[in-house]
Symmetry: C2
Amino acid sequence: MESRERSFTRRELSNELRTMQYRFSRRAQRTDASLIRRMFNYAADVPDHVSLGVGIPPFEMPWYVTAGLTEALQTEASHINKYTLGKGLPPLNEAVAERLKRKGIVADPKKEILTTAGAAGGIFCTFMALIDEGDEVVIPSPAYANHIDVTVFAGGVPVTVPLMESQNYELDHTAIENAITEKTKAIVLCNPNNPTGTVYTEEALRTVGQIAKARNLILFEDNAYEFLTYGGKRHFSLASVPEYRDNVVAFFTSSKEHAMTGLRVGWVVANEEVVEKAFGVQDLNYICPPSISQYAALAALTGPQDHVEEFRQEFERRRDVMCRRLDEMPEFFRYVKPDGAYYVFPRLSEDVLERRSPKGKAQQRFGEIQGKFQTADTAVALDLLYGAGVVAIPGIAFGPEGKGHLRFSFAAEEDDIHMAFDRMGSYWRRAA
Amino acid sequence: MESRERSFTRRELSNELRTMQYRFSRRAQRTDASLIRRMFNYAADVPDHVSLGVGIPPFEMPWYVTAGLTEALQTEASHINKYTLGKGLPPLNEAVAERLKRKGIVADPKKEILTTAGAAGGIFCTFMALIDEGDEVVIPSPAYANHIDVTVFAGGVPVTVPLMESQNYELDHTAIENAITEKTKAIVLCNPNNPTGTVYTEEALRTVGQIAKARNLILFEDNAYEFLTYGGKRHFSLASVPEYRDNVVAFFTSSKEHAMTGLRVGWVVANEEVVEKAFGVQDLNYICPPSISQYAALAALTGPQDHVEEFRQEFERRRDVMCRRLDEMPEFFRYVKPDGAYYVFPRLSEDVLERRSPKGKAQQRFGEIQGKFQTADTAVALDLLYGAGVVAIPGIAFGPEGKGHLRFSFAAEEDDIHMAFDRMGSYWRRAA
């Protein structure tokens, strides 16, 4: 014992001056704080900022969700605090199956639906289960950054294909097909698309479905904003088409529809084999989605659904408010009116892009940001934050095709939308 | 357009008979449903089973947690449903820092504490951030299976070193040191240990701390059961020792202490650099731990703590009940009395191990189970389930050193403990 202690001491001496050196995994080294999160962190520098950055419904939960959860805390007191062991609380998965039926999707609540910690949890678990080192994943871009980042984290190679502004960001199946190689494993569709607000047509989706089927590819379908469509547009899911069904891994969530982003409840809808593997990953990861949130989601799905249409109408109204403000500033913005989600993705005019060199703190922040994010739109966003107190997300955060754009969210109070545009207008006009 | 459609049709024809072939990632192929989860699934075959399998406190949440959450649903209605953007709800991280102080651990709530979706979420995010393909991870075994499985999922190589029954499963620092190679990245300690219930001595822990420091290794310290120690034993964390602090990545949870396993709240306590990387992984994974659960955890940590000691005493009493029952059956069991957690890990007698060939459904299930889990203890566990209606977890589920054992949980109602032992006794004696 004594000799062993001495041997430790010798070793310790040789390491005396060495502080702990962390060697993170390659996957973690590839993972940076997202540009979106960086912008939120920087916003803390500007106390009176107004934010069009965040993608969170600004509402409270519907009253009956709070009431249902409050009641369940009493009546289900001996269950509500415990792990849920299956693929979700059984009545919740059944309610989801019922809800999906109305979209034409038939799914066995025991085998083809997995309740997850938000759509994000489902995306992470299925990507980790399906994407291997070197697998290529075709992602129409501008894209939800998470799809790109999780692909990279899983060891895959994101292959972005442009959604063309001139085509109203509609899916370009020729571009998708041309991007497919022997290494392609999957195609990712976000519908309605974050950040462009595009609602893909059934025809365009079916063509991509054919491609996926013909090439034996997974079709990840992120439907996080599915209830948020405007101007009579309708959301369509390829999970409702039997012949593409085995290719589709569809993600749904109650985050937006029931204003419960923080509760972390979503669903993977897929072939039994995929659900089983994702279930295994989830078990290793966070064991199960939060039990109390599943009770809240059950109350949400089985309660009156009036607020869903109310939310939708309210977002449509705020979209129109934001579009009117954009229309008043053609010297700064050009944009495609979004048909869905709660984002608009205007291109900045050359004038703005060329003249907005960030100064002071904004310049310092610009220097801190990783190489690929050091674009003119990032410079503009930082200048806007520190110069005008407005938070917007640089387009580059959504893939290389987002360069030169900003993402504005109209999941903001109407007053804040007006204040943000007032500030931008006067800031840029003053500087002109 | 037409010609393209024809080309799809040709391709489709060539694929007409092909059904979707899933190729899962290597990491997912390495991941099987855990033997624990399998046992729970099989238990559904036996409607009147009594379970000593599960590791969930059989209590309701303390009244003030339910009351605090119910109140927060009203008073915090505009926040409680939304993502938490930082490393946890700020007052929660501060309450955790206060709580840790009482254990001698000083941690900055903004930088050195990350609130996660249970300890499991924290383990997953930090292992994924730190363990790379080929990294060796030394794990004293019998071990919590999750530590082995997440290591494998991350691409690492678990190197189990035996905890010797003859040494009361105390840490064997010589064995740990001998297992270290150039490829070793980390050592995992579960304290109190699941499944053996061992509470490691401060001396043994400090020796392992020295090894980790001398070799520049991460020391993952899973403290999920830290408040559950018996017979005057005390839990010690190496995170309280400044010189080992940078090596230690410590996991804590409110799951057991406040009977809220299903709520998914835990904490990583580590150096700022590690916390930052784990935070990035968590953001990609499930975005944030559930907001409402964080409010519940805040109520739990800031409320009266009387129930913690009540829970502890109740578990100690149930441990004693279970040990008495084991003492009455020396022909079947030999065991080390656990000083912590809520598990006992008896070795089965040769007589039981040799004579328990599973029959009928048990035999079929035994055939379904993966090669490495096809051990005599698994055979005994399946025979017990289908023959006597008792759920216990085969020792092999906790690493190769668990062979020949069963894990019984005394996080069960006292009546169930008695019923399970009555059934085992009469089943085996009848068969004798």
